[in-house]
Amino acid sequence: MGQHFSLSAASLLLASGYPGARSVLEPAGEEAQQIAVLFWVMLSGGAVIWLGVVGLLLHSALFNRRRLAEKSASSIILWGGVVFPSVTLCALLAYALWLMPGLRPFAQASSAALRIEVTGRQFWWEVVYRPSQRPPVASANEIRLPVGERVELSLKSADVIHSFWIPPLGGKMDMIPGRTNRLSLMATKPGIFRGPCTEYCGTSHALMAFSAVAMEPEAFRSWLAAQAIPAEGAGASGGALFLRHGCGSCHFVAGTDARGLIGPDLSHLGSRVTVGAGILPNTEDAVARFIARPDLIKPGSRMPAFDMLPPDDIRAIAAWLRGLQ
């Protein structure tokens, strides 16, 4: 299934340019739908008011240039300048506030079936899936959600303030050190979306993104089950090179002796849509380039360059990592 999904993901990638080159105005989630409706309501209301004001201006400048009596001028100011804007703003505020309880369903006692914990780090995302009644599953730089099921996200930060946003699925939410912010999302259409970091967090802020993949619930469940066990390719020969060159002191790869927790979990790197936190296509070449000079691809990243390794070793490690499906 993983291989099949990667293929369909690749074709989706080709179809849309970069993964999830989609906007808030193409909602694929319930929360984003509400935001889009709010936007269109505001835009149409604003357009009607603008047309009214400009129409009145043209009317008084071109067609009806007689002076108004002081009394009727005052009443126009009172009704058009005070009463109408106050009532309109009051109605718009009430409408926006009325939408709010729907954006925080977790405030009620019943909790979502799936909680995903996302921790922002300079410049990548640590992801832990916490399904109810099953052990947690760790991942990085990619978030998968089942379509039609409500997911609760717990958003944290390990260093500076980041901000989490999947435009076609919902609004943004800051990730603040020392706090856990909660966000509720429900995808309504399958697809791949780009989630950028939306709070300046350092040199590579613009290069900090993730892929969000909304999948059919059945496919999601089998994907999550596959993520919970070591990848099939973990025992292959490239793993020995990975360990020998010390990669395992920072990275975790399930089923091997690589137990580092400083960098992203690479247990199923091959199955992800992108590498380098949402900035490179998941190809062997891209992985090899990242290993050799991460500082060129992502300035300020804490991973040191490994271009002193023999090119064949780098290539073998990249091939092994790509094989971790």
Binding site: C90, P101, F106
Partner: protein, 126 residues
């Protein structure tokens, strides 16, 4: 004892309504923040917080309405039209009354906007 204060000439009456708005804002926001951070300290449900905000809003709106009525009286109940810019004592009084009336209107709307979230939000999130 008179119920409605008699007309006095001081600049302080100008600020009455905005000061009520500030006090209402602080009561609502600080009250909700304390309750949401330490619910056990208060020992009440969030409905009590909403009721408190409702009570504070009724009090604030009444005070602002009173301030507006006094300003309207100072303005001569609208018998004179603005701009009241003659260098006379009468115009100064009318101008201040009119400015106070406008500020009261602004504060009245602001207090309603401040209280509105409590109409829709029924719990805090921790």
């Amino acid at each position: 004892m008179r119920l409605i204060p008699k007309e006095i000439e001081t600049l302080w009456t100008l600020f009455t309504a905005p000061v009520v708005w500030v006090a209402h804002f602080l009561v609502c926001y600080i009250g909700a923040a304390i309750y949401c951070a330490k619910p056990e300290l208060v020992g009440l449900s969030f409905s009590a917080v909403r009721a408190g905000i409702a009570a504070a809003t009724v009090i604030a709106l009444s005070l602002i309405a009173l301030s507006a009525w006094l300003a309207w009286r100072q303005w001569g109940f609208g018998t004179d039209d603005p701009p009241h810019d003659d260098p006379t004592r009468r115009d100064r009084t009318l101008f201040q009354g009119f400015a106070t009336l406008l500020l009261s209107g602004l504060s009245f709307i602001a207090v309603i906007f401040t209280a509105m979230p409590a109409l829709f939000l029924t719990e805090c999130i921790r």
